[in-house]
């Protein structure tokens, strides 16, 4: 069976994905494009964004790469404006970007102002910028979708990085209230909390195969999610017509790891 999502459920839709220069963001962008959406790749580093756009074009899709720092309001506004100009509208906004510091462990007493500011700027200032810039276009769309990338750490806290957890917890509150506010406009607002394989995790487990086996025993599916097929596939579903009556939710796309709710 092909790993590609062949159903073009998003034909004619326009999506913008932040942090799409690699990892989960790239997987989501590829999945959206394969489902028929025209996709803007918003990435802080121009070269990685261009790489993702080239991959989409290589598969016959339509993509635009824009260098974007989501912590800068003007960057996000320009990215949305360019998207609308190029593709004629915006139906789907995916805020996936996160700070590179989010993977750094920190004890509470040692959290620096810089670490706090950078992670909250990308995560929560980015959420404000992305949602506000997209709002008039999502409203006009008739099937607007806003999706924020969250984490189980936002639900159960993180002993390794309290800043990351606080930002992701805040995102849960953001999503719930925004869903209630934007529901009357026909816009759904949801979060995806993935457990995805990453290059860093893959490298670690390659060096520590026994730890990998123990770790994966926590997952009913016994594997980490694949950025495109598993995480991207769920995002495509949430952005499709079948999920038009689902809003304010955090969907755990994690192979069954978080069954607590």
């Amino acid at each position: 069976m092909s790993d590609r999502i062949s159903d073009r459920t998003l034909e004619g839709r326009v999506a913008l994905v932040t942090g799409a220069g690699g990892g989960v963001g790239r997987g989501i962008a590829l999945a959206l494009a394969a489902a028929g959406a025209k996709v803007t790749i918003a990435a802080r580093r121009a070269a990685t964004g261009e790489d993702t756009a080239a991959m989409i074009r290589g598969e016959g899709g339509t993509a635009l790469a824009l260098q974007t720092d989501v912590a800068r309001r003007e960057d996000v506004e320009q990215a949305v404006a360019h998207t609308v100009e190029a593709f004629g509208g915006l139906d789907i906004m995916i805020h996936n970007a996160s700070s590179s510091l989010s993977g750094h462990p920190a004890q509470l007493g040692e959290i620096t102002e810089r670490a706090w500011e950078e992670q909250l700027a990308v995560g929560m200032d980015g959420s404000l910028h992305c949602a506000q810039a997209a709002f008039p276009h999502l409203k006009r769309s008739g099937h607007g979708r806003y999706v924020g990338l969250n984490s189980a750490f936002g639900l159960h806290g993180a002993g390794m990085n309290p800043v990351y957890a606080a930002g992701k917890g805040a995102l849960r509150g953001f999503i719930k209230s925004l869903a209630r506010e934007w529901g009357p406009h026909g816009i759904t607002v949801n979060a995806i909390a993935p457990a995805s394989s990453t290059e860093a995790a893959d490298a670690f487990f390659e060096q520590n195969p026994a730890l990998k086996d123990a770790f994966l025993r926590n997952f009913p599916m016994r594997r980490m999610g694949r950025p495109r097929q598993d995480i991207g596939g769920a995002v495509v579903a949430v952005c499709g017509s079948g999920f038009g009556y689902v809003t304010g939710q955090t969907l755990f796309v994690d192979g069954g790891l978080m069954t607590v709710l």
Binding site: R73, Q107, L108, G109, I111, W116, L120, M124, D125, L128, A131, Q132, F135, F153, G154, L155, H156, G157, A158, G159, N161, P162, V163, A165, A166, G167, K168, G169, A170, L171, R172, G173, F174, I175, K176, S177, L178, A179, R180, E181, W182, G183, G248, V260, L261
Partner: protein, 244 residues
């Protein structure tokens, strides 16, 4: 209402940087037999309140050291930080970056400073810290994105700190109160209803109050009876939601 004395569990500090239910919680905690000190950045409700600055971690450390000089080591620290600006409904599209930073971001960062300062001042001595917030963040509310983002961010911060600081004998929990406690116009989120069956009854027949119910719950969380609880959320709603 008389509660068992917890005077042997150390003083209670009620920290509230701005207006809110801090004064009433402090008043209610007085019934526990503890020495209670309110550490406030807002108007003093009593001459004994300790005025403090909350504009940096070091300022908060200084305030807590001053509090300890007055009361001795605390057994219970209650922290309530919901800026008045967050309680005013506003269209999300109209929220400027300045308001976003000045309310949600500033209060969440202040929450971090308070947790850092408490851990620093306690230095491994046993205590319980309870952060108090509005229960509407659990369900969300239109027009109140900064408020629910703040409260859920605080809740995740408390959980994370609880994971780190348990080994240092500091327990941290979150107490959800009716949003009407913070602003009357925010009276509870609507429960899902079956229209033809009418509104569901209040399980306890009353809405919990601050001076008795909330103070008693805080007292419990700071007592030996609550010694196995950390990182928990207690929704003090009289059984309205019954979730999770």
């Amino acid at each position: 209402m008389t509660r068992p004395s917890n005077s042997g569990h150390g003083a209670a500090w009620v920290i509230d940087p701005g207006p809110g239910p801090g004064a009433r919680l402090a008043s209610g905690l007085g019934a526990s037999g503890r020495t209670v000190l309110r550490i406030s950045g807002g108007p003093a409700a009593a001459a004994s309140d300790l005025a403090a600055r909350f504009d940096s971690r070091s300022a908060i450390v200084e305030a807590l050291r001053g509090a300890e000089a007055q009361t001795g080591a605390p057994g219970l620290i209650v922290y309530c930080d919901v800026p008045a600006e967050c309680l005013q409904p506003q269209d999300f599209a109209a929220i400027g970056v300045g308001r976003w930073h000045g309310t949600f971001q500033a209060a969440l960062r202040r929450s971090l400073w308070v947790l850092q300062a408490a851990a620093e001042v306690l230095a491994g001595r046993p205590a319980a810290l309870v952060m108090v917030g509005p229960s509407l963040s659990l369900v969300g509310a239109a027009g109140l994105v900064p408020l629910s983002a703040l409260a859920e961010g605080q809740r995740a911060l408390v959980k994370s700190a609880a994971r780190q600081l348990g080994a240092r004998k500091l327990r941290l929990n979150w107490l959800a109160l009716s949003p009407a406690v913070f602003a009357p116009q925010l009276a509870g989120a609507e429960l899902p209803q079956v229209p033809e069956l009418g509104p569901p009854p209040l399980p306890l027949g009353r809405v919990p109050d601050l001076e008795h119910d909330a103070a008693a719950a805080l007292d419990f969380l700071g007592s030996a009876a609550g010694s196995a609880l950390t990182g928990a959320t207690l929704n003090l709603d009289g059984g309205e939601w019954m979730l999770p």
